[in-house]
Homo-oligomer: 226 residues x 2
Amino acid sequence: MTIRHVSGEPGGLRELKKRRTRTALLHSALELFTTQGFEATTIDQIAEPVEVSQRTFFRYFASKEEVAFAVPDTVESHFFDAFRARPPAEPPMTALRRAMRATWETFGESVEGVSPALHMRMYQLIESTPALLAVLMCRSAAMEERLAEEIARREGLDLDADPRPRVLVAAFTGVMRATGRIWGAGGDTSAASLRRITEEHLDRLGPALVTAWDRPEPGAGAAGAT
Amino acid sequence: MTIRHVSGEPGGLRELKKRRTRTALLHSALELFTTQGFEATTIDQIAEPVEVSQRTFFRYFASKEEVAFAVPDTVESHFFDAFRARPPAEPPMTALRRAMRATWETFGESVEGVSPALHMRMYQLIESTPALLAVLMCRSAAMEERLAEEIARREGLDLDADPRPRVLVAAFTGVMRATGRIWGAGGDTSAASLRRITEEHLDRLGPALVTAWDRPEPGAGAAGAT
DNA sequence: TTGTCAACTGTCAGAGGCTGACAATAATCT
DNA sequence: AGATTATTGTCAGCCTCTGACAGTTGACAA
């Protein structure tokens, strides 16, 4: 008969151990990264406190970078889901913004047992580590593509013929990147600060994009929805 | 007395040999990358036809990625210089576009002895290789930052307070990325094709950004130049 | 021409990221 | 309990990249 402990989550003993090992590796890595830096940390150093071999680390995370992006990954998924859940009537920029706001809110608690304070430190580390920044850029580009596809779908546009979805997304993420950098450079490292900076900057491109971009093209003749 | 051969460029024998080695390594690498793929190519394979040790390769190129971006690097520099040379009276988007056009034109000949056809193949390889795409994204982000700074300087704006330069650049490079992807996916791999796609797409965001973005803000009150 | 100096290179040794193969161990199912 | 399957550790190895040291070669002056 299958033993089922009172521990919240489903699955057997094996599943439980796996989740524990993963979380332990994640914590160990983040702790080391934020104290000694990303490149100065070796896989052996990460695996040692967890009492696990280097080989096992690579069975949980495909690379050293991946563990650094585990939490951002989760947050990103939340954001994308939140965006897809926005009503189709909302202009894309509005929907993006509200999805972002919703993500900030479900973001106060821990993700995978990682405290918000640690997220923040990791974000700053990513911003200041070239190798991680490169990965972040690549991931951002992939996310931009997915968002552009989703917008094209919502608005009934052809992504190959109409650059506007991509441009809108580029503008949005451009602001996000900019705010990220400003926040990273500034003194106030709180999540509230990041949130405030983001809102402020998004405010400033609202009128130009929200009102102009979700209507058919103003200039040359190209097919658009509605 | 210093021997000065009739070979075009300046410098002594040492300089000449260095340039030769660099070019040879570059060619060897690009040839192998485009035939077997980036990851399947090892440093030893690159160095062998040049009859040079692996160690020497790393004295010319800091990493395997760097050699892949040697030509894009040169092109990028040309573009940035061309942009800075644009008259300050031009709206930023117009200046970006003309700089791009100028870059396309000085681009027909070989760069560092690499034929345009090989550039094209390399661009496509970069687009289809995750590791290279990551580097490209990072480099693009750095370029965006430099362009935004330059625009802020031209227009007398404060980059930390006004997101518009960054957004404008994001829109521009967003279109460039999009065209790059469309071109890479399409059948026509000629430079002319890339050029045409780019022009077409830039046309479509012209009215919205050229006329709206170089004026002081429409909505909330923030300081801007003229 | 010759000797000195500086630059360039090869060899060697090694760290660190990452992977495949295989055997040992531990959980699950019957 | 025994068979099955998943997870792990060990080992061996490839590849990127770096520091150290010694050998070679071009540059320059006496």
